[in-house]
């Protein structure tokens, strides 16, 4: 069934600037959110939420580029700083003050590593935005699928959790839906990485006994979750692959917090 509400026009910074307008917040999509098939859907869902609550926002569209995070973690500081300085020029050119990201890696880099290079912005991750919207009463859980009593577990992305101590916002967004939030044996500050960080996403793993995502998916299966909630496009890929590999895609869904929010509100 087609949902007419999903046909929304996404505003870009360039268009806004041409009309002499400045949005309240920039939605930084990120490379995965722009190119990865599954992540693109999550990107559109984040836009649906922004649209639904009526925040004035815009994206950079084709002007956006890599923050430089994977280059930096892989040791290529030159490339990182080149990307960072070009991005800062772009952001400052549009006089951007506040940014919401769809990716914990972009979030971490812009928030923590850009200030030292002259880029100072207020940066939040989309799960934090969702929590704020819920707290402000702007986002309800009505008109969509019910998650009441569903066994959902949350996989902490390293760069949101340990990296920046954001543990509660994503959980609050899930608890708001009256789900049965269950924790895996390794969670929060003890959470296990999905295996994609530090530029591992872009290379083959070193020889070993097994892949890291399989180790993590074993935790998900052990927790007997119906849904594993993610908040990072790379975790999304790793978890989805792992669950497929275990042939569990019938029993366990992998959903981003933004997707769950959109479903719960029928957006």
């Amino acid at each position: 069934m087609e949902n007419p509400k999903s046909e929304i026009k996404i505003p870009t910074m360039a268009e806004m600037a041409a009309e002499g307008k400045e949005p309240e917040i920039l939605f930084w999509v990120g490379c995965a959110g722009s190119f990865d098939e599954r992540a693109r859907k999550i990107t559109r869902d984040i836009c649906k939420i922004l649209h639904h609550v009526g925040i004035s926002y815009a994206v950079l569209g084709t002007e956006e580029g890599c923050t430089g995070d994977p280059a930096k973690r892989a040791g290529n500081e030159f490339l990182f700083q080149m990307q960072a300085m070009m991005t800062i020029q772009l952001l400052d050119g549009y006089n951007i003050k506040k940014i919401v990201t769809g990716c914990p890696h972009c979030f971490n880099t812009i928030k923590n590593e850009y200030p030292g290079l002259g880029g100072n912005y207020e940066v939040i991750h989309h799960t934090q935005l969702i929590q704020q919207l819920i707290n402000d009463g702007k986002l309800k859980a009505e008109g969509g699928e019910s998650f009441k009593g569903k066994r959902i577990t949350y996989h902490d992305p390293c760069y949101l959790g340990r990296g920046n101590n954001v543990y509660e916002a994503p959980r609050a967004a899930l608890e708001f839906l009256d789900t049965e939030l269950i924790e895996m044996k390794r969670c929060k500050s003890n959470g296990l990485c999905c295996g994609a960080g530090g530029a591992q996403m872009f290379k083959e793993p070193e020889p070993g006994k097994k892949d890291i995502n399989m180790e993590r998916v074993a935790d998900v299966i052990e927790a007997k979750a119906q849904v594993v909630a993610a908040a990072c496009p790379f975790c999304m890929t790793m978890l989805t692959d792992g669950i497929k590999h275990q042939d569990k895609q019938q029993e366990i869904q992998v959903l981003d917090i933004a997707e769950i929010t959109v479903k719960a509100n029928g957006l």
């Binding site: 559109r44 300085m85 020889p207 180790e215």
Partner: protein
């Protein structure tokens, strides 16, 4: 009189040797590059009080935490007793605090005895965990003969010291009951009085037991002190400065390299005039002297407990990488560099390096930068920082990244994304359903 003389000589020698070795370690640490870790002193004191003094990060593993706490508290408090031993040793007195402290003295000695038993129990449990139960955390490629023996030596020494302490008290107690010579009634002996029956009843034999244990106890402690600089047990001292100089930034934040900033600015803006910043260093780290003094201090602080390795996703899944090994290799290498300086002067190069001779490329490329190791470390050590510096060297100085990562760099450079997609397609998601 002769006893006092011997005691003073032994004490002076022990203190001298210890300070010499500590000075050497300090010199080695300062071979590292400079980094500013002196901002926000109030917060730093707080972190130190919490993590080192309060041992808050130990609580994640409750059994180890409780046992370690016994040893820690026991050791600190029983060392008050050592103060008395020192004074007695120098002035030839016996239990000099018993008179001025009166009733409190009895209570203190009683408390020391209870603690000594707790320390004994904890040491035995730890020895069992290492040698009988063989916890996985205490094995691994880096846990070769020496680190394994090191841990056992320490535990056995502590068992012996505590046993000597209790036997000494038992003999003293018995002599007190006999009203023998200067063994006046002092202290209370809730534990050692139970040992009394196994000791001889003859006063002169008791005096021998008491004196032998007294000397064994104090010389044991002085030997232990001098063993510290060679051992993972050095953490009992370095844990404090190491946590004081902790990284206070969010864990996700990596340092931006100032030397690179200058070059990138010059590339983007030809009119940019860089400030001259002295000699151009290496990008990243090839050897230990390219690391910061804080990295090196951490290497000397590492207790080889393996908490980091046991939570490392790479290690758990059978990769070669072990964050504990990163720290132990760094320590071994900086010790070697220091010894070379002592032997051959400061310009000597042995042709070896941390990257390659100690830590392999396979290890550094397996890291996901997940920060599980830094989170787990009870004394706030950061193995990830060293891994990152080694990667920086491999990429920027040697151009030796794995081929797939070089592709990723190329993509970012050419089309602004780590994959080979055209920049023009970046906004296509908006027009899909």
């Amino acid at each position: 009189m002769i006893a006092q003389f011997i005691f003073i000589i032994v004490l002076a020698a022990a203190v001298y040797l210890f300070s010499k070795n500590v000075a050497k370690i300090r010199r080695n640490i300062l071979l590292g590059r400079d980094v500013n870790r002196s901002d926000q002193p109030a917060l730093r004191w707080k972190v130190m009080a919490k993590v080192a003094l309060g041992q808050t990060k130990m609580t994640k593993r409750p059994v180890a935490a409780v046992m370690h706490f016994f040893i820690y508290v026991g050791f600190i408090i029983i060392n008050l007793e050592v103060l008395e031993i020192m004074i007695d040793g120098i002035f030839g007195s016996h239990r000099i605090f018993s008179n001025p402290l009166g009733g409190l003295y009895g209570f203190l000695i009683g408390a020391f005895e209870v603690l000594a038993v707790l320390v004994l129990v904890a040491c035995v449990v730890f020895l069992c965990r290492r040698n009988l139960i063989r916890l996985k955390r205490f094995s691994g490629t880096e846990m070769t003969q020496w680190p394994k023996s090191d841990a056992n030596y320490i535990l056995i020494t502590e068992v012996l010291l505590m046993t000597a302490f209790l036997t000494m008290n038992a003999a003293d107690y018995k002599l007190q009951l006999l009203h023998f010579e200067h063994y006046v009634k002092a202290g209370s002996f809730p534990v050692s009085s139970l040992l009394a029956p196994v000791l001889p009843n003859n006063a002169s034999a008791l005096v021998i037991v008491e004196r032998v244990c007294w000397w064994f106890h104090i010389i044991g402690i002085l030997c232990f002190l001098n063993y510290l600089p060679y051992s993972k047990h050095f953490h009992i001292l370095l844990a404090f400065p190491n946590t004081y100089y902790s990284n206070l930034n969010p864990k996700g934040k990596l340092t931006n390299m100032a030397s690179v900033t200058t070059e990138v600015k010059a590339m983007l803006d030809p009119s940019f005039v860089p400030e001259t910043t002295g000699e151009p260093g290496r990008f990243g780290a090839k050897d230990v002297t390219d690391l910061t003094w804080k990295n090196l201090m951490e290497a000397y602080t590492c207790t080889e407990c393996g908490r980091c390795t046991s939570v490392c996703p790479a290690n758990i899944t059978g990769k070669l990488l072990s964050p504990r090994k990163i720290m132990m290799d760094t320590r071994d290498r900086i010790t070697e560099v220091g010894n070379n300086i002592d032997k051959h002067g400061k310009d000597y190069h042995d042709g070896k390096a941390l990257l390659g001779d100690y830590i392999s490329r396979e290890e550094i490329w397996a890291c996901t930068t997940c920060n599980a190791c830094t989170e787990a470390c009870p004394v706030n050590i950061n193995p990830l920082e060293i891994i990152t510096e080694l990667r920086r060297y491999a990429v920027m100085e040697e151009s030796q990244a794995p081929a797939s990562l070089n592709n990723m760099f190329g993509n970012i450079e050419n089309n602004g994304a780590p994959w080979k997609y055209s920049q023009a397609d970046r906004f296509n998601w908006a027009s899909e359903q």
